[in-house]
């Protein structure tokens, strides 16, 4: 089982954009769930192809963490400690439903459990035909906005 070609192409477009324009490293494409089974045909297909990677700077800082850092005057250290991000490639002409978003979140397997009160997040990469890619964070839950 595999994703349709256009989804694979979409993923590669975003992959290249992240690599070349945004200087991400450790990029990896995911089409199947990371299970311990040896046979590739036994792996479960993800609802959508996903990409993981490491941005050059920290992309997201939870507002509560931000408050803590401001208290300890350590805000400058944050940029230096980027976190791995999940990226969901989408095309502007696609339609999406809440159900599909929920399925994508449910298929995310995090390497380590989340801290108390934190939600999963992913980067929604929306591609347009003129090769513009815009990135939006989507949180799996009610997450208050960042202070800026």
């Amino acid at each position: 089982m595999a994703h349709p070609d256009y989804l694979a192409d979409l993923a590669s477009t975003v992959y290249e954009n992240l690599e070349s324009q945004h200087d991400w490293t450790l990029l990896e494409s995911h089409t199947h769930k990371q299970q311990q089974q040896s046979l590739p045909e036994n792996k479960t297909l993800l609802p959508r192809p996903l990409i993981t990677g490491l941005p050059p700077r920290r992309l997201y800082l939870h507002p509560d963490d931000q408050v803590e850092l401001v208290k300890t005057h350590a805000t400058y250290t944050v940029d230096e400690t980027p976190e791995m991000e999940w990226v969901l490639p989408l095309h502007l002409n696609e339609k999406f439903t809440l159900k599909q978003i929920a399925e994508v979140f449910d298929s995310l397997e995090l390497p380590e459990p989340l801290a108390e009160g934190r939600c999963k997040r992913l980067l929604m990469a929306i591609v347009h035909d003129d090769s513009t890619v815009v990135y939006y964070f989507v949180h799996d839950g009610i997450v208050k906005p960042r202070q800026n």
Partner: protein, 317 residues
């Protein structure tokens, strides 16, 4: 946020498919205990163009009315049907209403009588001084032309006697029925400016309550409301609800929320637009809806719908 059991239910008046709360105590109660502050829509009758500082009533969103009904802290009545029904119904409240009307009527009669008497006294005083003036004038006139004295003095007498406090007019009214209706205090009828007395007690089981027509975004509203957020209409940020983490007087809103059906197609451009606008105004764009199908939680109840929500923010890259 539990309701105090001793408190009577909040009365929500449904008029022209809008939901109003007229009682200031209810408004304060909803704001303090049920994180609903809603919009004041009452203008001043003397200055309806003054819209910056509105007063009572507040207009609830249909979602707010429905949530309060679900929590069993309020009831909704259709005003146009409820009032006539209450008047027509023969019951204890009927008796009470008539008593109130009678009380107000007799108050009105008394104050009318007092006013009439004061006025009579005032005119009598004026008339008397006028009469004196005229008499003086008459005396001087009599010296110049003696043949016209009789006629003007008779006119003056007739005019002043109209306002005299002599018992003469009263006896006249008893003879003339059309005048009786004007003067007899029994005929004064009061038009009530409020129908408070009709509204208590709260409607019982047999009285039909008005239904609330909630929009499709209701589950998201109920979910946020249950979490203690304050919601205001979202027009100014292009969404269904403006979501505040506390009383809007103390907090800026955190989210612009828009509800969707679980399987409703969402145009990606809408997400981008919402996310972009939200980031510009330091908010997060919240989308959500009621989970349907296999994923739905088994323990879902009407009071606690299974809702899933997602927050969207611009990633600044």
């Amino acid at each position: 946020m539990t309701s105090t059991t001793s408190r009577p239910h909040v009365r929500i008046s449904k008029a022209a498919n809008r939901y109003f709360v007229f009682d200031i105590d209810d408004v304060m109660y909803l704001r303090r205990n049920h994180n609903i502050c809603s919009v004041f829509v009452g203008t001043m009758p003397q200055a309806p163009q003054q819209s910056a500082f509105m007063g009572l009533p507040i207009e609830l969103m249909a979602e707010e009315a429905q949530v309060l009904v679900e929590k069993e802290v309020a009831y909704v009545v259709d005003d146009s049907k409820y009032h006539p029904a209450r008047i027509a119904a023969a019951g204890p409240q009927d008796r009470q209403y008539i008593d109130v009307v009678k009380g107000i009527t007799s108050d009105a009669q008394r104050s009318m009588r007092e006013t009439t008497e004061t006025r009579k006294a005032m005119f009598a005083h004026k008339g008397a001084s006028k009469k004196k003036e005229r008499k003086d004038k008459k005396a001087s006139d009599a010296q110049t032309s003696e043949d016209v004295t009789a006629a003007p003095s008779a006119d003056t007498e007739a005019a002043t006697s109209l306002f005299d406090t002599t018992p003469e007019p009263a006896s006249a009214t008893t003879k003339n029925p059309s005048v009786t209706r004007e003067a007899a205090p029994e005929a004064w009828l009061a038009t009530l400016t409020t129908s408070d007395s009709l509204l208590t007690p709260a409607p019982g089981q047999d009285e039909p309550l008005a239904s609330v027509d909630v929009p499709a975004s209701y589950p998201l509203y109920a979910h946020l409301q249950d979490k203690g957020y304050f919601m205001m209409p979202g027009l100014r940020f292009g969404c269904n609800y403006n979501v505040y983490p506390g009383d809007p007087l103390r907090f800026h809103s955190h989210f612009q929320a828009t509800g969707f059906q679980w399987n409703e197609d969402i145009t990606l451009l809408d997400l981008v637009t919402g996310g972009r606008l939200g980031t510009n105004v330091k908010k997060s764009f919240l989308i959500g809806g009621r989970v349907e199908g296999e994923e739905q939680r088994k323990d879902e109840t009407e009071a606690a719908l299974d809702v899933r929500a997602f927050s969207i923010e611009w990633a600044a890259m």
